[in-house]
Symmetry: C3
Subunit: 348 residues, 3 copies
């Protein structure tokens, strides 16, 4: 754990807009889980299933919800949204690391690039022609930005991010190591002698406050732009194909793949390992369970699922055999039904 | 969109081998979709579903098929394969960006490496011993090529491609950012105290005109080589395990994983998110639907599928419960059938 | 194939603890498959299905099991575990490539970093404050290690590995190109105006003798650490989310995703393309078939499966339609059963 900033419990209560119960002058030196917290730490309870752990916690203070406020006599922060409160407390204790502004001498910066004086450019970074880097940006070691790339203010690129020519990243975005923005979409036409590449001349536009996880890839548009709207959160190893649009504040878990030209609405929650085929329209507020496949557009908010939980192998093999044998059983059932009704009629 | 080369409609007709209808002297300054095109752009119609958009398009010219040639009075290029025609038009307007030949001073090149004088080696590139780089290659910033790697002519490596020792990349290949070629295959033997690594001493051989998407990985062979034949197109985040062979002109969409020693034929089309288990032989001309699993060799061309589209969560949970309950229902059906036949016999 | 070290068959027998049959003075110059081996190579037979290939092999010597020892008259190494024997023979012939110790002048090393004198630091490597690099480590070109990262002895980082601040890598680990260790876990709380990031202040701890495949990502813990125990082997493009623990000697194949806080036991074997949802406990000795989904904790060793092999598309579409129609068929069956029993009662 990095070394936290010094805070008192009372100051944290203000920072996270919670009601303080207990001694506000207590110093808080870190965070911990209910089970792992040490004296000096603040912990939190968001799931009533873990309420019994309150009795044993060694934490100095607890964040919890209004309905749980009597569940402990420890000094506490009471909030209508204790998880959000924890987020703000942790942000207070562990603010983003600062990097001293300036350009590392090993960075290779095109003469036409414009780098704000408060930006920090790390070792071996490469910035192409006419790149624009906003105030307070951090570009860590080994990042490569193509020509005409634009970064808004306070963007943080972790090491080895690659952004192809002309892509635009909004303010306060965080891109983790290995992210690739703006590689060519998978477009080609079949000719008599093989596949002919279709130049991908659109860009990727990423809105403000987007976070993109390690090794995730977002392809540039074929003609128009691929768009990630503001506040979207993408986990690791997601693939976003060309011409997709992902609506504001939508969150997508790891290993999900989104095929070309699919548009996802706002405030959606897409699980991990999900597949979305191309050219779909997914409306706002859709939740997709992990490991599901979406093959049709969705026009109504709600939860959509096709994931199949595993069973012990032998049981599953029987399930699978039964599934495969369904045509036979349905035939048997139909024959039986027919015979039955014939007999009934005859016997009347 | 990058700035296109100046062309006239007539010159484009020649470039894509299409029949010109209308004024060949019109300048074409860009491309656009039917809905997004601006005056000066050329657009295309390949799917009759979008024919109604022709009436409103602001494009200066249209590429379309022989059967659609009367669907507009705009200047047009008529082709038996309008999508291929569009590919060639877009290639004419947007030729690959050229990089000035030469080696960036920050590149680290082994003394024994041979770099063709027309090749362009970007910042912070590392080339190992005896690497050979062909004419007109472009190696962008941060690429690392191990010892004895060979690149044919006009290969384009985007930033941060890694190629391990001894791998061979054919002419005109395009490898996108984050691609890793030739990492060790997943080979180990169980010993009394844990797993013992099996040295992976094969190479990866990539044929000519292959394109490999961002963050895709192709492992080196355990003993013999992993082979990607000419004209193969791999999308992003694909995993190709050791000793695989992928036949010429096969295309594979993103997030697909191919297990060790599986051989895929020529002219196959593998969807996204597909899994192929190891040691399979897939014949030429096979199509696999996205999100399907291939567990057996395939000897006949055709389409293969096991993907399950999602449903509203409650409906799917019922479907799943029914699937799990099949043994019970089949037992009920069998009993009913037996009783019925007993009764019939008795009543005769 | 790299150039092997010179060995005699007799020396190899000792190195892999096998019984020698035949001339121990024969020089062995390489390895080959039964079909591909050349004179001078040693090959191996581990699967009796391939026994017939022994007759034609051109190999100079063969590794095989006790039960197969009479299947050839070639010089041979007889072992109770011929695959393990092959692993050790191949390790003898192809020892890991050595890199001369020292720091490449282009590397950027913080003044407070401690690098063992026998370590080899390649071009354009970046080491942060207080990094510690053990004896005989190899850090290849373009790797980036954040502040306070610790590498045990003889760790091998292939090019472009990124390790975030404070993560710890055990002795003899091998991390392949593009691996990202310690990126932020996917943690956020919903606030009134969007998602609020939860600082991820845990680390990643990787035990000794772990191998991690190309482009695999392991996220740092939210509060406590993400842990990969000793001897674990991870294939390419695996995603391990925050707070996971993977038990000793567990092996996981490519493209698998493990959601947050899931703990996997020791000596498990997880197939490729598998999904595990979050907060599960998987006991020791569990095998998960490729492309399966685990949604519940597992308390008993064994094989677990939910993968569905593909069928010809038309057959699969019928299977799927039958699956969807199950409620209708079950209703029909129930009605028939009810009528049948009513009739029986009436007819008594």
């Amino acid at each position: 754990m990095p070394i936290p900033q010094p805070w008192t419990l009372g100051a944290l209560a203000q920072a996270c807009d919670a009601r303080l119960e207990g001694d506000g002058s207590l110093p808080i030196r870190g965070v911990g889980t209910l089970e792992g917290a040490q004296p000096g730490d603040i912990t939190f309870l968001t799931n009533p299933l873990y309420r019994h752990l309150l009795a044993q916690t060694r934490a100095t203070a607890v964040i919890l919800g209004v309905t749980e406020q009597q569940a402990t006599t420890l000094p506490r922060l009471v909030s209508s949204n204790p998880y959000l409160c924890y987020a703000r407390v942790a942000q207070s204790l562990f603010p983003p690391k600062e990097k001293p502004p300036g350009v590392h001498p090993s960075a290779v910066i095109a003469a036409s690039a414009q780098v704000a004086p408060t930006a920090a450019i790390g070792p071996n970074v490469t910035l192409g022609e006419n790149v624009r880097v906003g105030e307070h940006c951090i570009i860590e070691a080994g990042c490569v930005l193509g020509d005409e790339v634009q970064l808004g203010a306070a963007v943080h690129l972790y090491p080895r991010v690659v952004i192809y020519d002309q892509c635009v990243i909004g303010a306060r975005c965080i891109l983790h190591a290995g992210v690739v923005i703006g590689a060519d979409g998978f477009g080609m036409a079949r000719g008599p002698e093989g596949w002919v590449k279709i130049p991908q001349v659109g860009r990727v536009l990423v809105g403000a406050d987007v976070e993109i996880g390690a090794n995730t890839t977002v392809d540039r548009g074929a003609i128009e732009d691929t768009v990630i709207e503001e506040g979207v959160k993408l986990d690791n190893q997601i693939q976003v194909a060309h011409n997709c649009r992902i609506g504001a504040r939508t969150v997508i878990a790891g290993c999900t793949g989104i095929s070309g030209s699919t548009h996802i609405g706002r405030d959606c929650r897409i699980g991990g390992g999900v597949g979305l085929v191309g050219h779909l329209q997914i409306c706002d507020g859709v939740t997709v369970s992990g490991f599901s496949l979406i093959t049709k557009s969705i026009t109504e908010a709600g939860v959509y699922t096709s994931s199949i939980p595993s069973q012990p192998h032998r049981v599953w093999m029987e399930t699978l055999a039964n599934l495969r044998a369904l045509p036979k059983w349905i035939k048997t059932l139909k024959a039986l039904e027919r015979e039955w009704h014939n007999r009934k009629e005859n016997s009347v």
